[in-house]
Amino acid sequence: MSAHSAHGHAPGAHAGVAPHGPHRNYVKIWAILVALLVISVVGPMTGIRVVMLTTAFGIALVKAYMVAKNFMHLDIEKPIVHWLLIVGLALMVLLYGALAPDIQKGEGQYWKKDENFHKSFTPEKPHTGGGQAQPAGGSGAGTPEHGHP
């Protein structure tokens, strides 16, 4: 964290081109990725759901990992970068986990969803419906401004 240990990437034309560890055979990595892609396409054709899911998403994870490691050079990147990426992903897991009980589930404790609820109501446009249903002088509240653009 200290500027004392800062060493010279910065100035000059080569600014920021950090020496990136051992030489890698990028073409080979690419070939592996393509092979994985083929599997993930063939997988579903077996028609077995388990195979399909594992090939689809398992391989997606592997591919993502390989791209991140070898193409983005995450493996030789500073820890801070790993941390901020992990934080971002963790937050998304949190978001999903916290929303699932409300959004993904169709019912919970003393509540349930009903997509066809509106069919049980009289078909007219809800807000005008609200307007009509409001009896004159119910609770002393008139209904001004209805349909007012």
């Binding site: 949190l94 409300d102 809800p126």
Partner: protein, 568 residues
């Protein structure tokens, strides 16, 4: 080390010729100080607009049906548009630009001892996007159908379907404006974080960085990490409004509650995004005018980080009774009440900083101390709302309104004023009038309490929010309650009038004030070591840092302060 010195050998060279002149200099500059002024002045202008809105709808509440002077009749749709945009503007177009972007842009390079932000042109772009968003929002008030009136939280289906909101263009433009504003602050935030991380002066270690910079960085981080889902949500809302999708439409497989979660997943960290810069400003001011080292500087930073981290786990306390599964509410009650731990610690440390100090009650110090006193009220009343059981009653009553005004007002107005008065000499090279400053201070603080204390009691008697005329509700139309409403409205008018004292003081001092020397407050941080106002490039030779930011009254020295850049 080696490269920085070699680079800084030709420090002044890059600039001067790089800058356009005349008015373009202000409009098109990439200088962080100019951009900071752009953000601040835009923020102040928006504050005046939102303040006027507050005046109009408070008048309507206090005197229903009255033709409001300077405005006229307030119909329900106009009233909704006013409260909606008052809220949106105060949070997104006042608090954020002034505190985060304004002070962030001004202070980070100066306090880190570098010549500018790391990406000056991206910085300029971020302001221009922000300005555009502000214009779009203001335009949205005058389109056919009127401004968006679905409250600043913009809950669908009301916000998503014109047949419910009756403001087709208004709601669309509102969403566009907010989304643009987010993008602008993403660009800004990246600049703040990277500048503070990577462009610190030689010798400045992480724990030599002044608290306000730490706080602004943490705030930007919170913003960047939380706003994403809402940007996605805003796009989905736009599609629902204009392209006939059904992301939030329950009749076609969507779910309105999804938006509430996406909104508050951002919306709660957002509170800390604006709170932290204000807390940082207060920290700087307290240390300077108490002539004291910050009490447990590192602990303060840890509490900030803890607060920031926790703030991601509390959002659903805004939705306790919004139809989320009640079992979730218990989890969020625990996290919400627990966040009082780091915040309380932080407040204690601030107060402890006064111990053994030698306090000078200058205008900035008055604002800083007032921030503490008033924010405490906002903080403790938050416990009522975090406690799920009590929130069943308090949710969406005026108790909530009073509570968050006791947090946001100290943040946006008191904190902003503290910062402005404190750094005014550095920004404009002249001193502000202390006398006018103090008049403005008392003329703001006293009415402020008279505006919002009554709202606590109105909330306790069951008054709900966003109602333009309470005579429709027999139990709420009692004379006592109306008296309270009138009290807070009158106080608001008084407070708004006192703001002209500030504007006068601000403008006159900026041109005619007594010339300020480099370091009028005898402070230790780097920004005070350059001329007032700093030239483009900030320093003829960029400083090197030798010690932490708060070396006041260090034993064995004749002066009671020890600038960070001074050689031992």
């Amino acid at each position: 080390m080696s490269h920085t010195t070699t680079v800084e050998a030709h420090a002044p060279a890059p600039h001067g010729h790089a800058e356009p002149n005349g008015f373009m200099k202000y409009l098109w500059s990439t200088d962080h100080k100019i951009i900071s002024f752009q953000y601040m002045f835009t923020g102040m202008a928006m504050a005046l607009i939102a303040g006027f809105m507050a005046y109009v709808f408070r008048m309507q509440i206090a005197y229903p049906g009255l033709n409001v002077p300077l405005f006229g009749h307030v119909s329900p749709d106009v009233y909704n548009a006013l409260i909606t945009n008052h809220g949106s503007i105060m949070v997104f177009w006042v608090a954020m630009p002034v505190l985060l972007a304004g002070f962030g842009n001004y202070l980070i390079p100066l306090m880190c001892g570098c010549d500018d932000m790391v990406f000056p042109r991206i910085n300029r772009l971020s302001y221009q996007l922000f300005l555009l968003s502000a214009i779009v929002l203001l335009v949205s008030l005058f389109v056919p159908g009127g401004g968006f009136g679905g409250a600043w939280t913009a809950y669908p289906p009301l916000s998503a379907q014109a047949k419910y909101s009756l403001t087709p263009m208004g709601s669309t433009l509102w969403v566009i404006a907010v989304a643009l504003e987010f993008v602008a602050f993403l660009l800004g935030g990246i600049n703040f974080i990277v500048t503070a991380m990577n462009a610190r002066a030689p010798g400045m270690r992480a724990f030599d960085v002044p608290l306000v910079v730490w706080f602004i960085v943490v705030a930007s981080l919170l913003f960047m990490a939380s706003v994403g889902p809402l940007i996605a949500g805003a796009v989905m809302l736009l599609f629902d409004q204009n392209l006939g999708t059904a992301f939030y439409n329950p009749t076609r497989g969507g779910d309105p509650v999804l938006w509430q979660h996406l909104f508050w997943f951002f919306g709660h960290p957002e509170v800390y995004v604006v709170l932290l810069p204000a807390m940082g400003i207060v920290a700087e001011i307290i240390t300077v005018f108490a002539r004291k080292k910050m009490f447990a500087y590192k602990t303060v930073i840890y509490t900030v980080i803890a607060t920031g981290a926790l703030s991601f786990f509390v959002w659903a306390h805004h939705q306790f009774v919004a139809g989320i599964d009640p079992r979730m509410a218990n989890v969020f009650t625990v996290t919400t009440v627990l966040i009082s731990i780091p915040i309380a610690e932080m407040c204690f440390l601030y107060i402890a900083t006064l111990y053994g100090g030698s306090i000078r009650f200058t205008t900035p110090m008055l604002w800083a101390l007032a921030f503490m006193a008033e924010f405490l009220i906002g903080g403790v009343t938050g416990i009522y709302l975090g406690a799920s059981g009590a929130d069943i009653f308090f949710h969406d009553t005026y108790f909530v309104v009073a509570h968050f005004h006791y947090t946001f007002y100290p943040i946006a107005i008191i904190g902003g004023m503290a910062g402005l008065t404190h750094w005014f000499p550095k920004m404009f090279g002249r001193m502000m009038s202390e006398r006018l400053g103090k008049i403005h201070f008392w003329g703001t603080i006293i009415p402020f309490n008279f505006i919002f204390i009554p709202m606590f009691f109105l909330g306790l008697s069951g008054e709900h929010r966003r109602i333009y005329d309470y005579t429709h509700f027999p139990d709420l139309a009692t004379p006592e309650m109306q008296a309270l409403r009138i009290m807070s409205t009158v106080a608001l008018v008084v407070m708004l009038l006192f703001q002209f004292v500030f504007l006068w003081n601000f403008i006159v001092s900026a041109f005619r004030g007594r010339k300020a020397e480099r370091n009028p407050w005898k402070a230790t941080t780097l920004e005070w070591t350059t001329e007032s106002p700093p030239p483009h490039g900030n320093w003829a030779e960029l400083p090197t840092v030798h010690r932490g930011p708060y070396e006041y009254a260090t034993p064995g020295r004749d002066t009671d302060y020890w600038p960070q850049n001074e050689k031992a």
